[in-house]
């Protein structure tokens, strides 16, 4: 990584860089598919309240478990609610919560990792031991415990998810920092008498940013998976809020005669997760980061 290269890059506007990355991502078929799915879901999340044909919580016993028809495109569920309406609304909560959750994970995980990588020594040892300990507790056990004791409100879910999915980023950020820390420009910054803070902000962050962003994009899809698992188990959003995980778990018992009520949310959730995954992969490739050898931790 050459110093003058970094400064040349900084001169380009952020927008120009972003569009360059997006064009590179879209030039591969998998990246194009992933991006289109993701953009479709994001647009859908914004406009779905305005285009939903029915009320998502209107219960009508006379319309129980109707097969798909012209009026009810995806049929109705066990309470006579329109499955189409609930499916297009079902991604909003999950998308919002996991998006802000990954931002939090990115922030604290990234900063702590950079800090540990920079200072090293005793502090680094202690922090990494604690991170290792947290990594060895299954996320689902910890999340379930927090949620069952503190409740399932958004104010609990976002920080809790952000915390538990950030611990893996600590390691990635630390490793990325180790890669740049021995470079000459860090040594010369130290020689110029810059503070740790200034070195982190001006020298390290521009160099490890890509690796951390890619990791954050990947975390987003895992967090979405985790959040829907929580909803599926009954520890996520509470009914009657339309949510894919919750819809699948409700419709599962009746799927032998009303498969449509379970297929629609399955397609919604799977396509979103695959979309984010493909996008994150393409993002990594566009930035020249190989993460195919990483384990899902």
């Amino acid at each position: 990584m050459k110093v003058d290269n970094i400064y040349k890059e900084e001169k380009k506007s952020a927008f120009a860089k972003l569009s360059e990355i997006i064009i590179t991502m879209a030039s591969r078929p998998s990246g194009l598919i992933g991006l289109s799915i993701l953009v479709f879901h994001i647009i859908l999340a914004f406009i779905s309240p305005y285009i939903a044909p029915h009320d998502f919580k209107a219960i009508d016993p006379t319309l129980m478990l109707q097969a798909p028809s012209a009026e009810y495109w995806f049929g109705t569920d066990d309470l006579g609610r329109d499955v189409f309406t609930r499916t297009i609304l079902g991604g909003r909560t999950a998308l919002t919560i996991t998006f802000f959750g990954s931002l939090i994970a990115l922030l604290w995980g990234g900063l702590l990792g950079i800090f540990c990588g920079l200072v090293g020594g005793k502090i680094d040892d202690v922090v990494m031991r604690i991170v290792d300990a947290f990594l060895s507790i299954p996320w689902i056990l910890a999340m379930l415990l927090i949620v069952s004791l503190l409740g399932t409100s958004t104010e609990v879910l976002i920080p809790a998810l952000g915390f538990f999915y950030g611990k893996g980023i600590v390691r990635v950020a630390r490793a990325a920092t180790h890669d740049v820390i021995a470079k000459d420009f860090i040594v010369s910054a130290r020689a110029r008498g810059h503070s740790n803070f200034s070195i982190i902000w001006n020298e390290i962050i521009p160099n490890v940013r890509d690796a951390i962003l890619v990791e954050g994009a990947m975390r987003w899809s895992w967090m979405l998976l985790g959040f829907s698992s929580l909803s599926f188990l009954g520890f996520g959003v509470s009914p009657p809020t339309p949510d894919w995980g919750l819809m699948i778990s409700n419709a599962r018992g009746l799927m032998s005669f009303a498969y449509w009520a379970v297929i629609a949310p399955i397609v919604g959730l799977s396509s979103l997760i695959i979309g984010i995954n493909l996008t994150a992969d393409a993002f990594a490739k566009a930035l020249g980061i190989d993460r195919s050898t990483k384990a899902p931790v």
Binding site: R129, I130, D132, A133, F134, L135, S136, I137, P138, W139, I140, L141, A142, L144, L145, I146, S148, L149, L150, S221, L225, S228, S229, F232, L233, G245, I248, S249, R252, M255, S256, Y259, V262, I266, L269, S270, I273, I274, N277, L278, D290, S292, T293, K294, A295, P296, V297
Partner: protein, 318 residues
């Protein structure tokens, strides 16, 4: 070398020690203790006192931690709240059932993953790779509960080949369990295989691009001899660690799969104990699952260390 092994084992114990503190403090700091959460609205007066005495919650926290940790090392996790029976008796059959499930998935998954990974790597970007890679991406990104639900819907409901839900008592014998576990094993093995196949693929591709393989090609070593003698031994070594991490990561996914199939393993116990607010059992589960994670990783580290002569000298020099 011996020093390295001892150091790794000690580090594993340090991690477990921190886990025990985290779980203890976690269940302590969060609002409500075991008694108030368990008794809920009846948590006052005589009943609360009796519960405190029964669980020994009337002594200071650090004393409780020490006695709990000392007992836990000997395998005694105290009594569960709801069942009123020793936690180790509750855990025993559950651990056995989960082990059956996990080992079946691993025995099926690892060979398939190796074969798929090697095929996709050798035919990189050709038809076999594109087809298999697309399937693996689907298998590994779709949540466990979705693939499990789809398996039940297709295999058990539409085709009626296998029972969709496991209805057996917790302490059933192995042979009775067998037909019931096919679908759960497939559901778990699918995700695991997909992850491992992807990692084997990229590892093999990396080695294929290395200089000594290029050299072997130039020397005219026959293709398959080169693959089996030069590429695979070197490519599979780094995969051990990642495979271990994948297995350990599945501990979380197994919880969901066990719930979907109603399988009486550790995973369902996690959900049951949390729904019943049975904090002593939750603590025991956290420690046990964390020990499994730590020991799998430790095993993988030691295995790589022993199989890789380069790593030995490298780490000692550090």
């Amino acid at each position: 070398m011996l020093f390295l092994i001892i150091k790794r084992i000690l580090l594993g114990f340090v991690t477990l020690f921190i886990v025990s503190i985290i779980t203890f403090v976690g269940t302590e700091v969060l609002p409500g203790d075991a008694c108030t959460t368990y008794l809920e609205r009846q948590a006052f007066g005589e009943q609360l006192e009796a519960c405190y005495r029964r669980l020994g919650l009337n002594v200071p926290a650090y004393e409780r931690y020490v006695s709990w940790a000392l007992n836990a090392i000997q395998g005694d996790f105290g009594y569960s709240l709801s069942g009123e029976m020793p936690i180790k008796d509750v855990l025993g059959p559950r651990i056995k059932n989960s082990l059956v499930l996990a080992s079946a998935a691993i025995f099926i998954g690892i060979p398939i993953a190796l074969i798929l990974g090697i095929i996709t790597a050798l035919w990189r970007d050709k038809l076999p790779d594109v087809a298999i890679s697309t399937v693996t991406i689907f298998a590994m990104t779709i949540p466990e509960f979705i693939s499990a639900t789809l398996l039940i819907l297709i295999i058990a409901i539409w085709l009626e080949w296998l029972p969709g839900i496991v209805i057996v008592p917790t302490d059933v014998s192995f042979l009775e369990l067998l037909p019931n576990i096919i679908l759960p094993v497939v559901a778990i093995a699918m995700i695991m295989t997909a992850h491992m196949a992807r990692m084997v693929r990229s590892s093999v591709i990396q080695v294929m691009a290395s200089e000594y393989v290029q050299m072997a090609i130039l020397k005219g070593v026959p293709y398959w001899k080169m693959v089996f003698k030069h590429v695979l031994p070197n490519a599979l070594l780094p995969a051990i660690n990642v495979v271990a991490l994948t297995i350990a990561w599945l501990l979380g996914g197994v919880v969901v799969t066990e719930v979907v199939f109603n399988y009486p393993g550790l995973g369902r116990l996690v959900i049951e104990s949390i729904s019943n607010r049975d904090l002593p059992t939750v603590q025991a589960l956290a420690i046990i699952l964390a020990s499994i994670y730590v020991s799998i990783n430790l095993l993988a580290d030691l295995l790589t260390l022993m199989l890789n002569p380069r790593l030995k000298t490298l780490q000692i020099r550090k």
